[in-house]
């Protein structure tokens, strides 16, 4: 009986992953649609307005044709929240996510981007050694599972930056690095998007946190008011750079700046930047302990 429950729940996770991957690629979330509409109202440069008009048209066509918003089906990244009483081991949850990603890629079909990092040979339907990527979170006193799929395009992922600032650089050093990174990236990461910033922790953890930051819905703020204030300040500064939509110049360079932070060593001050393009694809589901899937529960 226990074995059956495990098998069924693993299949449920697989079904959810397969659905979320395709859904996220075709139907971008409402908070993003609203932010892009607001950007279209705000932008005053001629090429910038042309870009935002085209984006608007593209989203509508993806809806009506049921096509992918962007051809880059990305690298599949999942954020999962596992309740401590959820009756399926994370090893089986991972298998379900991997099999769902592969199934969606074959059945739709979707472009498969996964390659061996040295030989560059394709490794399978968007799966491979350590692919997909999963960010795990464990929740006390809960028996549910939340799954969020964030296919990450390479144009924006290639615009990732890390700097080991020293404590004497302070918060000013962090702000300068974020600004320089986004100006240097120019039009390459498909602006206007979400700038994810990870601060503190260690070198690897700062980048991990920057990725967590781009996975948050637009409009959410860091729970720590000091960090939330830095999010607001950087958002304003970044939009003064004039990089504009697709780097063609304009008022709207970023839709939002999200920061995730961790405490760090007294001699460390790491800052990482991870960019998410305007097509910030994201879809979530909640799976109950009995295997019911609810696709309307955003987290």
């Amino acid at each position: 009986m226990a074995i059956d429950t495990t098998t069924d729940l693993q299949h449920t996770v697989e079904d959810a992953a397969a659905h979320l991957y395709v859904w996220s690629l075709k139907d971008i979330p409402q908070d993003l649609r609203d932010a892009l509409s607001a950007a279209r109202e705000k932008e005053t440069s001629v090429p910038g307005k042309r870009v935002l008009e085209t984006i608007h048209k593209n989203i509508n066509i993806a809806d009506s044709e049921k096509n992918l918003v962007c051809q880059d089906t990305g690298i599949a990244v999942y954020h999962v929240r596992v309740g401590e009483h959820f009756p399926l081991h994370p090893a089986r949850i991972y298998e379900g996510l991997r099999d769902g990603t592969a199934r969606a890629t074959v059945e739709h079909p979707l472009r498969s981007n996964a390659v061996h990092t040295i030989t560059r040979e394709n490794t399978g339907p968007n799966i491979g050694h350590r692919l997909p990527i999963v960010h795990w979170e464990f929740i006390d006193d809960w028996d549910g599972l939340d799954v969020k799929c964030v296919p990450k395009g390479s144009g924006s992922e290639n615009m990732s930056f890390l700097k080991m600032c020293v404590p004497a650089d302070g918060v000013k050093g962090i702000k300068q690095f974020v600004l320089e990174s986004i100006v240097g990236a120019g039009g390459k990461p498909c602006p206007p998007g979400i700038v994810g910033v990870g601060i503190g922790g260690s070198a690897d953890y700062a980048m991990y946190l920057a990725k967590e930051a781009i996975m948050r819905p637009i409009g959410t703020r860091n729970a720590d008011p000091i960090v939330a204030q830095l999010e607001d300040e950087l958002f304003g500064l970044l939009n003064e750079t004039g990089i504009g939509p697709m780097g063609l110049g304009g008022d709207v360079t970023v839709l939002q700046c999200h920061i995730e932070h961790a405490d760090t060593h007294m001699t460390l001050n790491p800052v990482a930047v991870n960019y998410q393009c305007w097509a910030a694809r994201r879809a979530s589901a909640h799976i109950s302990a009995t295997g019911d899937i609810d696709y309307d529960r955003e987290f």
């Binding site: 066509i61 880059d72 000013k172 300068q176 320089e180 063609l248």
Partner: protein, 195 residues
Amino acid sequence: MANHEVTFPITDPQEILKLRAGDEVTVQGHIIGIRDRTQIRIFDQGVEPPMDLKGAFLLHTAPNVRKIAEGKYEKICIGTTTSARMVRFTEPLGRQYGVRAICGKGGFPDEAIEPMHELGMVYFAIVGGAAALETTQIEEIEEVAWEELMPECLWKFRVKDFGPLTVGIDAHGNSLYRDVQTRAKAKLEELFARL
């Protein structure tokens, strides 16, 4: 900033010379899809491309397609990739093969400005990620060569009302990307002073 309609491949170099950085362009006719591995094969491995590139419009792409018969593919989703990775091929594409337009997303670095000026070429900026729209503007995949490089083959597409594109770099030595970067770097100085 003017609006133009241009049909490719072009035969009259004036068609390119009339375009200025910032102008809006809609493209008709035939365009060629090309990507990293396609150009590595042509220039680093010295293999002659089996398609005529004279007067051509090249698109930086690796499409999602469905095979329907031997050598015949149907579009699923066709979009555009980041151009900057492929900037070093600009001059030989123009000089050896007569390519006149390169279209991609995110822009070309400044090293493309001089060869484009000298050889009468333009860089067109498309909206990256707007693949659903782009797919509707590609009427048919007419030819494909080097299928073993899938999806980085050499593709020939027939297009209708392809765009709107923005002239990012023109054949007169102007680049919107250089202008934006120059202004942004000056602005950074000002912002840093305020921090």
